[in-house]
């Protein structure tokens, strides 16, 4: 099992009303000087090994359905399993740390 990520973004020249709405909301919340463009992220779980042919197939899928290339661009990338595992390990450490924090918080609250 391998994971491929497809990021889809509106082309720069295309108005992005959602991004504009988020930009406005951030400014109202005091997050100044931030401009947002909003896209989509697709996580594809592929059976078997990732080969060049498989990736070409994913690109075809992205071009056919996931993105409308009239208004959007897309980017296909393989999510490295080592990195993913490292992320998981980190997450586990955080998970383990949490109960202590909660206990600390409970103590403070009590």
């Amino acid at each position: 099992m391998a994971r491929v990520v497809v990021d889809v973004m509106p082309k720069p020249e295309i108005l992005d009303p959602q991004g504009k709405a988020v930009t406005g909301a951030l400014a109202r919340l005091g997050f100044a000087g931030i401009s947002v463009r909003q896209g989509k992220r697709f996580e594809l779980e592929l059976d078997g090994e990732i080969t060049e042919e498989r990736l070409a197939e994913v690109r075809r899928a992205a071009e056919t359905l996931l993105a409308n290339t009239v208004i959007e661009t897309f980017d296909v990338r393989v999510e490295e399993p080592e990195l993913a595992e490292a992320d998981d390990a980190e997450a586990d450490e955080e998970d383990e740390a949490e109960p202590a924090d909660e206990a600390e918080l409970a103590k403070q609250a009590g």
């Binding site: 108005l15 009303p17 359905l65 009239v70």
Partner: protein, 226 residues
């Protein structure tokens, strides 16, 4: 009975019944078509109605465009059959590449629902021959993603070849490039527009009856062909 005109019902179509009724009121024979079917049941023209097919998931019209019946619609359209896409139907035609460009979220970022003035820019299509060039009509407009966009080359080609069929007048409601409300393909048999002619065919429920010429145009075209 006049010529048979089909209306495709997708999961999430809303205006299929109004389109069927408009066809009947204007003297043709309405035929209900199903998205999962692989036949057009012998109709002479097809309407893709408004609504939120497949919940507008992914992009408006992106999933409907691959419904089984669309393979037949695309084949028929390429062979010259009159096809009209209204609102969500227009979005589906763009996703299917039967019409150029795309529809994106309204620049005003709200759903727009109003009686909209349009100018008829071309009567050289199977769906607009009963209008006059320059005529201003008023039709119901109701959508969240009606902003027509296309690259500069496409816009130049559309304008140059007379493929801009309807233009918003008295205000652009959604940020459409060049105030475009509707376009046709090069041949003029495939037309898409955001406003809803099928809601403007009956004095009881519509503010105008300006939608009737759409249905009479195609009926006359098909009758004269037989």
């Amino acid at each position: 009975m006049g010529p048979k005109i089909g209306v495709v019902t997708f999961p999430g179509s809303l205006d299929d019944q109004d389109a069927l009724r408009a066809i009947q009121l204007c003297g043709a024979e309405p035929v209900s078509l199903w998205h999962g079917s692989d036949t057009l049941d012998g109709v002479a023209a097809v309407i893709l109605p408004g609504g939120f097919s497949y919940g507008d998931y992914l992009r408006c019209g992106a999933i409907s465009r691959f419904a089984p019946v669309m393979a037949e619609v695309i084949k028929a359209a390429e062979a010259g059959m009159p096809v009209l896409g209204i609102c969500n139907g227009f979005q589906i035609l763009c996703e299917a590449h039967l019409l150029p460009g795309a529809l994106i979220r309204n620049d005003v970022r709200v759903f727009v629902c109003k009686d909209q003035d349009l100018r008829i820019e071309s009567v050289d299509t199977t769906w607009t021959s009963d209008f006059r060039v320059g005529q201003v009509v008023n039709l119901v407009l109701k959508n969240g993603e009606g902003g027509y966009v296309a690259d500069e080359d496409t816009l130049r080609r559309l304008e140059g070849d007379g493929q801009v069929i309807f233009r918003y007048v008295n205000g652009n409601p959604n940020g459409s490039f060049h105030d475009i409300a509707g376009i046709c393909n090069e041949r003029g048999n495939v037309v898409g527009l955001m406003p809803h002619p099928e809601h403007n065919v009956d004095g009881l429920t519509g503010p105008t009856q300006d939608g009737r010429p759409f249905f009479s145009s195609v009926s006359n075209f098909l009758s004269s062909k037989v």
